[in-house]
Point group: C2
Chain length 444, copies 2
């Protein structure tokens, strides 16, 4: 399909191009246009049927959107914005440089500009900043027949009409009713009698993570956003929530790997930005690792006498790091999914302790058998390494299980207490245990 | 609210309990019942209005569902199953022990049993295994008025009627039409003329990850599932996709932390299972870490002479592990989100190389200044550590950036090539570099 489009553009075969566009999904057209160089892309974009141009535009990447706005006439820009959903327009304005924003706003009518400005004032990642203000508003005294007529008149431009919202004179939300229920009800029935008054809503200032949590919990497809007086100001639809869920997971992945979270696409982010996002944590962790160096210096005497002890340091440290990462990851993820709560900390520590004893004991045993029988290492040394391994796994799992919960108690994102931070801490404790046990067993 | 329910159950205040249940959302009722001990829970469950009992049941946890099925009469079980969506029933059967399954199947009619058996035959995590077979089927020659009448008659039990499916006599999918479009169209219009024929569908055997990818790409709320002859066999709705997306992320989190993925809730998983999930990888990684031990033994001479070199081993290893984890994580996540493809490997390696030089150089410099000026370490040693640090960061980022892509080429999940595996590899290479540079600079 993409090849065909490329070819048709090359041949400037306008009539066939128009035909092909008519049959394609907007998402696929946007994807095809991404592969084509700017001037030709613009030519092709202008051939799109008027009703789908805005939709295709909304699926394009930022660079291409910027290019289109810059190159098109004011009138063309105006007609795209008219057709865009208002939440997409607001997203666009938030991400475009100021000269492009100016051109965008110039081509919207004053009323729309006011709405956009209001939406721009909500804090980043709040429910208000992601909601759309296009929805169906009904009155409780309408009959089903009147409601359906009203929807027929006004519904065509709404992002979703599958759920309709019933408000009183002060725009306070009184209930919701699905289009499905309207369709299957008799047309003389009064909306107020069949609407669902047990409405699940969020406040404009709630964080998007909370929005996603509520969506998942109640398996919703749309949710009303209200202000502090319970007045309906907008709705959030499930497709936006899918994006939020992915974004929040990505943020956790990045935090857990000791990076500054960034929403940008990897390939389009500059080397400088990527380096910057990664540098701070690496520096902090490098400096923290001085602790382990101090432990080694402190036990230099035993190390000088029994050099072979040094050979097991990396194995101990890696196993500790991995064991801690396992616990931290499972706790961080369970917290994010709401499967565990802060109050469960006792249960979690008890569970991690038992797991670490089981896992640590078997690892220690395997390690001992290998060192003593296979590598013929001295008994005292084989024992020291194996006991230190058991203790390392216990320390790692208990620290890995508890730090994320501690972070949440301190109102930090639990995801920062992942592998890197835990490794540094576990390394230090594990080395101390190792050298102390060795000193004792070797009788130093 | 939960306290109120608990109290009312304690007082056996049946009439008020019924009132409260009527006003509550099914999800909230299920959550409240989770906190109540089994016998009283069962008593309360029986008070639920018939039409919401099945819904509440579908939101309860497995243990409680099992308890309810075991304790209820055959008739009660039958009436719950009748009301459950068929995909929820199938999920239930997949997860229940065989005696409970027997009781469940005994209370379904033969026709339903046949459908359930068919659904159970689809491979785990395939589109067929997660779809529901309840949807609205229209014919292209129907008018909008006829279609709406048909929906009114049959639509009440369908999981979603927001999208309707148009099929020919052989049940081959010809098009889709939204309820919204039906409602806003004149009732004499023919469905075949206004339906959308550019249908996005998946095959019954497609993996759920592919299903989620298509849903996200096209921002869908429901998608048809077809067999190899393009016959419609079921639909998947967006609320199931939200669960899939979370599940796939969780799987990646677990793999990346060297654990066997498990879908079970942390608190309800046994210590034995959790230990088993974590043990295999830890053992494998512990044994791989022998490599680092061998490197240290190989360079024992220089270490014996310049003991202080040992003190920097943990810092080098940790920084290498962290730097590699950053690159691996960002590549694994970008692959999962479809932001990068295998063919981008050249671009990625070139980018990671540049990032690693920038980050490694600054880290090395900071480290050198600290060691030489602050800690007054010998010039040769400070230089060895700092150059080794730069090389470690470069190795870590190049390996971290390429291994996940290599895994995908080998049809493995990129997420297994995360921090733990990379750490083991980077540790070894980094130690070799460290000792070689030190030998050279210290003139050993």
């Amino acid at each position: 399909m993409y090849m065909l489009i490329k070819e048709l553009i090359g041949q400037r075969n306008i009539s066939q191009l128009k035909e092909v566009f008519k049959k394609m999904n907007a998402v696929d057209i946007a994807e095809a246009l991404e592969e084509i160089e700017s001037e030709k892309m613009l030519m092709a974009f202008r051939l799109l049927p008027k009703e789908s141009a805005a939709e295709v535009f909304s699926y394009m990447n930022l660079n291409q959107q910027m290019h289109i706005i810059e190159k098109m006439t004011d009138r063309e820009v105006g007609s795209i914005i008219d057709e865009l959903f208002i939440d997409d327009t607001v997203d666009l304005i938030e991400e475009m440089p100021s000269n492009v924003v100016k051109k965008l706003l110039k081509n919207t009518d004053p009323e729309m500009r006011q709405v956009i400005n209001q939406l721009l004032m909500y804090p980043k990642d709040s429910a208000g900043s992601i909601m759309t203000i296009e929805y169906i508003d009904l009155k409780r005294q309408m009959t089903v027949g009147q409601a359906l007529d009203y929807i027929r008149e006004t519904g065509i431009n709404k992002e979703t009409i599958n759920i309709c919202y019933v408000m009183d004179g002060q725009r306070r939300l009184e209930g919701v009713i699905s289009l499905r229920k309207l369709v299957i009800s008799h047309e003389s029935v009064v909306v107020g009698d069949i609407m669902d008054t047990n409405v699940i809503s969020v406040n404009t200032h709630d964080d998007q993570e909370e929005v996603a949590r509520v969506f998942k919990k109640y398996a919703l497809i749309a949710m009303p956003v209200v202000d502090n007086e319970n007045r309906l100001v907008g709705i959030i639809t499930v497709d936006d929530v899918v994006d939020i869920i992915e974004q929040e997971s990505t943020e956790d992945f990045q935090l857990m790997a000791a990076m500054q979270p960034s929403e940008e696409d990897y390939l389009s982010t500059s080397v400088f930005t990527l380096s910057k996002n990664r540098f701070a944590w690496l520096l902090f962790l490098m400096i923290s690792a001085t602790l382990t160096g101090m432990v080694i210096k402190r036990f230099q005497n035993i190390l000088e006498t029994v050099m072979i002890l040094a050979a097991f340091i990396p194995m101990l440290m890696d196993t500790g790091g991995n064991a801690g990462a396992q616990s931290a990851t499972i706790i961080i993820r369970s917290l994010a999914l709401g499967e565990i709560k802060r109050k469960d900390i006792g249960l979690i520590l008890w569970k991690e302790l038992r797991i670490s004893i089981v896992v640590g004991f078997i690892l220690g045993l395997v390690n001992f058998l290998r060192l003593y029988y296979l590598d013929k290492v001295d008994l005292a040394i084989a024992l020291s390494v194996s006991i230190a391994l058991l203790i390392t796994v216990i320390i790692a799992k208990v620290i890995g299980g508890s730090l994320p919960i501690l972070a949440q108690t301190l109102k930090l994102d639990p995801a920062i207490m992942a592998s890197p931070v835990i490794t540094t801490l576990v390394d230090t404790l594990s080395l101390i245990a190792y050298f102390l046990i060795a000193s004792l067993l070797i009788g130093f």
